[in-house]
Symmetry: D2
Subunit: 214 residues, 4 copies
Amino acid sequence: MAKLYFRYGAMNSGKSTGLLQAAFNYEERGQRVLLAKPQVDTKGDDEIVSRLGVSRRVDFRIRPDDDVVQLFRGHASGEDPDALVDRLDGVPPVACLLVDEAQFLTPGQVDDLLRIAVEEGVPVLAYGIRTDFRTHSFPGSARLMELAHSLEELKTICRCGKKALFNTRKATDPATGEEHYIFEGDQVAIDGVEVTYDSLCGGCYLRESGGRLG
Amino acid sequence: MAKLYFRYGAMNSGKSTGLLQAAFNYEERGQRVLLAKPQVDTKGDDEIVSRLGVSRRVDFRIRPDDDVVQLFRGHASGEDPDALVDRLDGVPPVACLLVDEAQFLTPGQVDDLLRIAVEEGVPVLAYGIRTDFRTHSFPGSARLMELAHSLEELKTICRCGKKALFNTRKATDPATGEEHYIFEGDQVAIDGVEVTYDSLCGGCYLRESGGRLG
Amino acid sequence: MAKLYFRYGAMNSGKSTGLLQAAFNYEERGQRVLLAKPQVDTKGDDEIVSRLGVSRRVDFRIRPDDDVVQLFRGHASGEDPDALVDRLDGVPPVACLLVDEAQFLTPGQVDDLLRIAVEEGVPVLAYGIRTDFRTHSFPGSARLMELAHSLEELKTICRCGKKALFNTRKATDPATGEEHYIFEGDQVAIDGVEVTYDSLCGGCYLRESGGRLG
Amino acid sequence: MAKLYFRYGAMNSGKSTGLLQAAFNYEERGQRVLLAKPQVDTKGDDEIVSRLGVSRRVDFRIRPDDDVVQLFRGHASGEDPDALVDRLDGVPPVACLLVDEAQFLTPGQVDDLLRIAVEEGVPVLAYGIRTDFRTHSFPGSARLMELAHSLEELKTICRCGKKALFNTRKATDPATGEEHYIFEGDQVAIDGVEVTYDSLCGGCYLRESGGRLG
């Protein structure tokens, strides 16, 4: 039985590297994969870029109102992605669908991923961030936590050496040039606003936030 | 470092048994534990009851507006639970807090559990149901999925032998006496309404719901 | 696809409780299970006994020279266990084989468990101790660590509150009546020699053993 | 508390990539790591090479008679690796030791890794192959399965799309040029003998081996 996997982690935990390695493993064994990411993630345009220095073009991007089952079938069949057709002779079946930045999917699109696993019989590996800088889920990650057959953590470390649990946002003070943590703002920083992120353990997060969670 | 663990599963996956076994393991080694459950869970009153036939009284119940850190400190110190005092001489420290039916906690109370682990240094084992009969999180389980250091699945099986992923609700038709699946209604069935539940895999759930998820 | 699971842990980590809960979960859903344990484990005779107070009779015991595939087929068919026959009409198929104290199986019998999962299509849940009081595997657990599809830890705690990793053996000095740790002796204590065990973390084990591992 | 982790998998499951990503994550947060591999693994000489195209030089190689605690301390201190000295001022402490191809360590060297975690307080991430082409452990992986605090599987897939469980060896017939599976031979192929490997699930392995395990 094919399953939906959610491989979640803090920022900079190696999610894109993991996705690219999984794709490599399938293809090395002669199997075909499809790679996708949400349109809203503009980092790298059509590429999935790993901080280790590896990158690769996705097969398709997912807009907020897309039906992912239909998109998947279109690309799997080798036909026009908007068409809903049977697989053509000569196009090998898809062995796995890999989705990067899955936290940006809508809840309904995560439902689609479950349907692709359960009804189309194709395993789906969704990689994504668990929570934002205020310790709250993204729409896609909240739904993946509800639906995925398997929740697998990708770990990284806090500045203190413990496992990182949360993400924090930093902004640079234009006057002094110094960076400081901020705990207010939109879930996704608006283009033009210069922010950076780092991943902290529970203790370091609570110290920086003055005891505040979300 | 103490951690917050969320041991989640479908209904009837053995959560209460797991909790009672964990408490037993601590006490067998001479360590003190505290057991708690939400007030709203009236099943068994002040008892945690496992379907295997084991049961045990909780140390305290958590009402929706309780501050769980304060409750914990009060009980840990051996003082009146409403008091916020230091540990008394002669009362051994608490080695673990175990919470049953943690899906019924409020999000703020889950924040409290994280604080107990991180700031009080006491491990917290929270056991709970992942999603309701419409595949949506409960308030407590949604927050635990965001905050817990470790997400550990307690598995059970579907009628078809696959791992169960979702819970379903059944009602008895008063006319015919037959049970049938229902996909509408409140998250928690109101007292007096006779319903039963069973746990299904993704495929069986989608078949019963006519393809509907939530 | 059916799998072989090895649920391993230190002594007193709740393995028998876990096994009995899993059996209960299957049967509650109307499915048939078989329970087995090695003949060499004389504790409880034909019973699997959990320290929580639950117990149950096994369907068969496994002697060192038994072919477990053949034993399984005999019991699954409802026929004489020594016969190798097809399933009879009216006997429901076996949904799961559960084996307690699996560390005492021979390596070849663990091979049999894998064959039952892969070739007979029946999931096998094997519960057992990871290592003896000198940090070395038992024959069955070493082979399970090589073959099982899934390795799942059942945790318990050390006297210091950390996760227990190893088992230690204690003997009572006949002169003084005091218990002390011993690090020499047979893997399984011979009947008549009074020993007890406790489970320690890596640090506490190394302190008691004077830095010795195995 | 620092732990010893064994991240095991079949061949070509992405172990070296995982190790290099973990090292990257530490260094990105300003922390110092040490990388090591056994001398006997001559692939890539002093480099850890990932099939994704990333590589990096190790800090030291471990010969079969080396004391790894001593080697570690020497390199951690920044002194001559054969010296057993305290850390020098100005050399940052080591936040993590990462060991590739850990299946080739001796059992005593795995004991050393546990000591580094427990007694030196430095986490050790050991990456290695679980079993050889005849489903038997390597000396280092057998010991890691006994001692590691955490066993974490790195997955890859079989030619049939299921999770790979075992490794198989293939040799080329010099007469026909055809590859065929072989189930006899030394655990590590002697230099000069041309062999290749692939990773199979339990079912495909048993089909190729004619039902033989080890």
